[in-house]
Amino acid sequence: MKSSLSAWKYIRNNKKSVGVLVMAISLAFAAIYLIYFLLMPTVESFVPILLEMPKHETYIQLSDGAYGLDSGTYNAIDAITPSSATNATGETKASDAPNPNDTTTPTGVNSANGTTNETNAPTSTGVINEINETNPTGETKASGAPNPTDANNTSGVTDSEGIDKPSAENDPTAQMASYNQAREEAKNKFLEFLKNHEGIDDAYEKQVIYGRYQGVVGQMNYNFPLLDKEQIPAYLDHNDAKLIEGRLPEEDGEVALDKKIMVNQKLKIGDYYLEEIFGKNFKIVGILKSDHMTCVGTPHGYANTGWYIVILCDEKTSYFQTLADEYGLTLSDADYIDDMAKNQKVYGEEVRDIILSVVKIISMIVGLFLAFAVTIAYISKLRNRINEYCLYASIGYSRKSIYGMMLREMLISFGFGGIMGLIFSIAISLLLKFTLLDSMGLMSREIYPEEFLKIGSLFILIIGVLQLPVLLYLRKIRTIDEIED
């Protein structure tokens, strides 16, 4: 014998008011989901750069101290050397180099509002070394200044006017040359160690520039190397990257970029890469396809963001501290290490945690608003139906039956609201994906089932909160004789 009160009768006969409630629930559902959907591509799109790319390459700049050299000696000599404005070998000290690790440099994520801080942009921090008087390989400097490592400069005991100069052991220039030679030797020895290490395909010191990738919020910059054209095929092979359009860089100042970067930065073959920063120094000649946004180029003079040791590592050798410990390097804050450990930290602390916190806060605000609105709507509904509940109590329905009906009505409203919200969410998110996100070259999934589960849990929580006014009203239900008294 069926004797429970039907929730459907109220719903069938009050389509308008129930419809408004269901619509409000579904829109709240969709709003929470779409916020997540629009923010998650930033997290997902940065994964290849921050978590996948470091499995293949590490960028480091080591200070003299890391090699066991006393940089204090260098500074003392440097201070009294006639050409003290420059580093004798042209090598930039790690502490002086543009540091991609901070927020002003290529791998740093810009502020969450997505605006580029121009005062911190690489260009303003002397990233373009064309104007530098330094040259790490001892090649002729762009400014044409004499290179102290040249034999002509290091051996001079007497100048052209025949003025006596200090002997070699007292000559600061000679001491500097000696110091630089020691440094070069230490670095080359370390490079040899890296090249011979299991799991490392190659290691070389190269100029780098940075790839730029714009998320829905925030921007990610990352290093990519400027190589000799002969080195490029091996580099692409190491990164499982393939040329899908155009050609590989052959002449100086050419780059091949990952397809997603091309789409994201709205570039095409023949454009100049980051022209506003590097001018017409890097022409785009090819498009690559890879899992982790591989880009590569050839150098153009000294237009770059610095000289780095590039290690073509594998997953096991992607934590540089392990290699440093093995070799016996003493790392300090003066050393710039862009490896797996650093990128994992950036991803966790600066990308995922921040964005997920934003999602949580917004979800909470929308959820609270929904809970408040639905509670008000329910209290109003309960007040309007109090005589109905009193009738049920009078003709023999228990409070449990009445509560069951209220609960079923609520569950049906939330159920329909949730289903409609799910449909809206999927429809709108697919539309956004194929119109907005794909055109921005951002990576996103079609749906995020885990977020649906979270919103479902939030709704269950709201239903739980709503039990409070329902139970309070249940206590107010009397029998009709009491009303008439």
């Binding site: 014998m1 039907s6 009768k9 009738l391 003709i395 023999g396 029998t479 009709i480 008294d485």
Partner: protein
């Protein structure tokens, strides 16, 4: 069917000026027939009906219903009794405003199947509600029609006792006459208790109980 002994009901128990709605009297009611309880406002007639129907519990005395002591049964048992054996017609119809006539009858039914709906349909038709009015909401029905729907709702579970509190109060003479005829018909094999202050509607009653100031003056 009912055996009432020394029933006393006091309102405002906590107050210094207690109000005695029922002042300790005995009463016996049969298994069937139309019984009228008549008296002026405040005489205790409605209170007596609510005590018999378990909606109220007397402060003293005993009410035996088919040898069950109603003053001692649990609230759940009272609910079951009201649901299965009693039917109610209130002074106002208390129809649910968003439901049609048919749904308003079915809301009290213990069975929601096809047979129950057919039974509700028959009741409504017998009470003069036309097919096209079955889906009409109370706001679209006349006062008399609403009260007839309320009568159908009271009878849908074939209750052994129908309690009717001023069932004709909001009706014109013709409708009042029709409603009383329906109740009279139903009382042929059931007990129908009608509380009223209008003696004229009790012309066909099998018995009239008169009350005054919480006591039965004539039975």
């Amino acid at each position: 069917m009912f055996k009432v002994k020394d029933i006393t009901m006091i309102y405002d128990m906590e107050s210094d000026e207690k109000s005695f709605a029922l002042k300790g009297f005995d009463l016996e009611l049969p298994d069937k027939g139309l019984i009228g309880i008549i008296g002026p406002s405040g005489s205790g007639k409605s209170t007596l009906m609510y005590c018999l129907s378990t909606l109220k519990k007397p402060v003293e005395g005993s009410i035996l219903y088919n040898d069950r002591e109603l003053t001692e049964i649990s609230s759940k048992e009272r609910e079951v009794l009201r649901r299965q054996e009693f039917g109610f017609i209130f002074q106002k119809h208390y129809l649910i405003p968003y439901m049609g006539a048919m749904d308003n009858v079915m809301v009290a039914s213990m069975n929601q199947g096809f047979e129950a709906r057919e039974k509700a349909r028959t009741f409504l038709k017998n009470l003069g509600i036309k097919d096209k009015e079955f889906r009409k909401k109370p706001s679209k029905l006349s006062g008399g029609q609403c009260q007839r729907v309320a009568i159908a709702r009271a009878m849908i579970n074939d209750p052994k006792v129908v309690f009717a509190d001023e069932p004709t109060a909001s009706l014109d003479h013709e409708n009042a006459y029709n409603v009383m005829n329906i109740l009279k018909e139903y009382s042929k094999d059931r007990l129908v208790l009608v509380v009223t202050h209008d003696r004229s509607i009790l012309d066909g009653a099998d018995r009239i109980i008169e009350m005054w100031d919480g006591e039965i003056t004539e039975a």
